[in-house]
Subunit: 416 residues, 2 copies
Amino acid sequence: MSSSVIRSIAAIDARFPLPEGTGSDAMHTSPVYAMALTHLSTEAGPTGVGLALTLNDGNRLVCEAIRILARPLLGQPIEVIMAKFGEVARGMADDPALRWLGPHKGVVHLALASVSNACWDLWAKSRGVPLWKLLLDLKDEALVAALDLSYLEDVLTHDEAVNLLRNERPAREARESILSTGYPSYDTSIGWMAYDDGKVRELALSAMGRGFQAFKLKVGSESEDRDTRRATMLREIAGDSGILMFDANQRWNAPEALRRCRTLASFKPLWIEEPTHPDDIHAHVKIAQAIAPVHIAAGEHIPNRVMFKNYFLYGGMHFVQADCTRLAGVSEFLAVSLMARKFRLPIVPHVGDMGQIHQHLVLFNHVALNHEVCLLEHIPHLREHFVFPAQVNGGVYRLPKEPGASTDMRCTCEGR
Amino acid sequence: MSSSVIRSIAAIDARFPLPEGTGSDAMHTSPVYAMALTHLSTEAGPTGVGLALTLNDGNRLVCEAIRILARPLLGQPIEVIMAKFGEVARGMADDPALRWLGPHKGVVHLALASVSNACWDLWAKSRGVPLWKLLLDLKDEALVAALDLSYLEDVLTHDEAVNLLRNERPAREARESILSTGYPSYDTSIGWMAYDDGKVRELALSAMGRGFQAFKLKVGSESEDRDTRRATMLREIAGDSGILMFDANQRWNAPEALRRCRTLASFKPLWIEEPTHPDDIHAHVKIAQAIAPVHIAAGEHIPNRVMFKNYFLYGGMHFVQADCTRLAGVSEFLAVSLMARKFRLPIVPHVGDMGQIHQHLVLFNHVALNHEVCLLEHIPHLREHFVFPAQVNGGVYRLPKEPGASTDMRCTCEGR
């Protein structure tokens, strides 16, 4: 274990154009994936790399915010930072110059995600272990000290968080079998909005051949018939035992969402995702009630733990798609995971990180928190850009073994 | 009426340091007020000036976002833009490069506020009328066409909005008396957090001498006794008929807010403001139920119409402190005003604009929408920086008569 001191901080605006149609949904017709990267460099030791996903030009705003936000970390040893990261993260989130711009949402919160993720990566690298192992090896008190649980006190106090971890320790060992078996992924890359039927069919069949059994289809086409046709085709390909998810990417207003979700529910998807605006808890509650037993999934645009708490209290979602590149990094993701455990809601992360960090977090959630559902989205389009891309074989996420959070990227020269 | 074409767009980062203690609250100990200004210049005609309030260094992020966001306006006549500003604003809010950074919150939404406000100012100036008159003179359909009502359809459709305006037309004339009488303001500048008891007493007495009858006190001191002592003193000075408001600026978590609001309710304030995190609708509902008939006020950090809709549906606030420099400008403020009217909730704006724009909007809300409560916050610290500062005499906001939205500032050279 070294005590790596942060000697310089850089924000890098990396852009990744995609092949035509790839990444398209009902709201984003031709996205350019962009990563707002934080580099925390140490003198002789490792570099901590954090990331947050954005699209296109907006990325430079996040990079600019990283430069302002991360300043307090300069000159500090990573062990000192992480020993009380809950406080450190809260201090950054409540920076007097930046809090007004949120609080805890938008550009500055995405910047905090990138910075926090870099801290966790550096911590794991400096201890020479993968993130999942760092997390599992931490004492309960040490883990909770790395989380900012402020504004959650009505549903999760510090002591409850510690006790929740403690109470799940005895049966940890049985759940550690997941480290050797891995856990299933589902394929989002077969059903982008702009793909024609032939391409969806071809990709779905190919994915099934490679062992995938769960597929996400983008919905929210201008024409409802197109959604129905694509859903019918995919259900035929996947069969009754195949798992489908539908994703509307916030396309519909509340009345339209209610109507179209009722129709789509007849295809028996595991969930319908982001039927309407992510701030509209009330609408999600109404839709959830209307389409049960089909479930609502949401999270990729839910900005912070306080909003998740409200979703949980009001019953606005079932599948919790927390994303450590939308929330304030690994820490806030874990805070949401603890809450979700208390509410007995499954976490199936949205992968703004392309699954790189979340592959670790799903393992932690299962082994340490006894989250039963182990499932993770798979989006392979940026794999060549990662130094250690997530290994998904036979539709299964395999154990990452390299030190850190798997966030090192090859290409960091595009953009500025 | 000219058809001013926008020939250039600039974002200006204007900073305004304040005297020690001024502007301080439970979360911001020594704020520097900053305005993210949008300038929309026309060839020979007026310049539209929009503003959004931020604090300190965060302001440059908003200015950078303004530069990206406002690009579609270049080369367009303001009459063309405003004839369908609802669509235009929605287009900017859903810019594919920026939507991911929200949606509809944080830095990009503050930028949209500034840009939208500049459009409204330019529109009023180009027609040679003050904003309140422009708004009152618009036909119902034309006004609603300038609003983005998307994601509100379950509580307010386009037709409902038009009808609401139409139904209030017959009695408009009676309510127009407000144009000559003005309406009361309340004084926030007597009770900043860092002011000692002597200063609060002196300022409150002086304000009473000038005709003020309503005063806001910052609460959320480290020591509860200090809050109680200041509240006791201010109630004594103001007397039983004086109106007090308490403002905690999000300081407390939910359980602490519940406890401290119960204590403060005994001082019979008109409202308790921002008791906890602005995203925590559920906590606001619980507190509102606990302290009735004392009311909850909130809004200065509620980012968009969708969140307000949820607050209204769940009953999380009574006094609606919408702010056209936090919401996406005048348009989204009016969308919230329409909804609030339907829910019969009073709007008492938070003045991120120092009251300059809101002095117009309160007039419109009363005359056109029949909002009964007419009351506006008064914060005088930047008045010297405005070309036409709001006239508050005898504690009363007087009718602004100059063309535009009263947003022209003298000092735009600080910052960059």
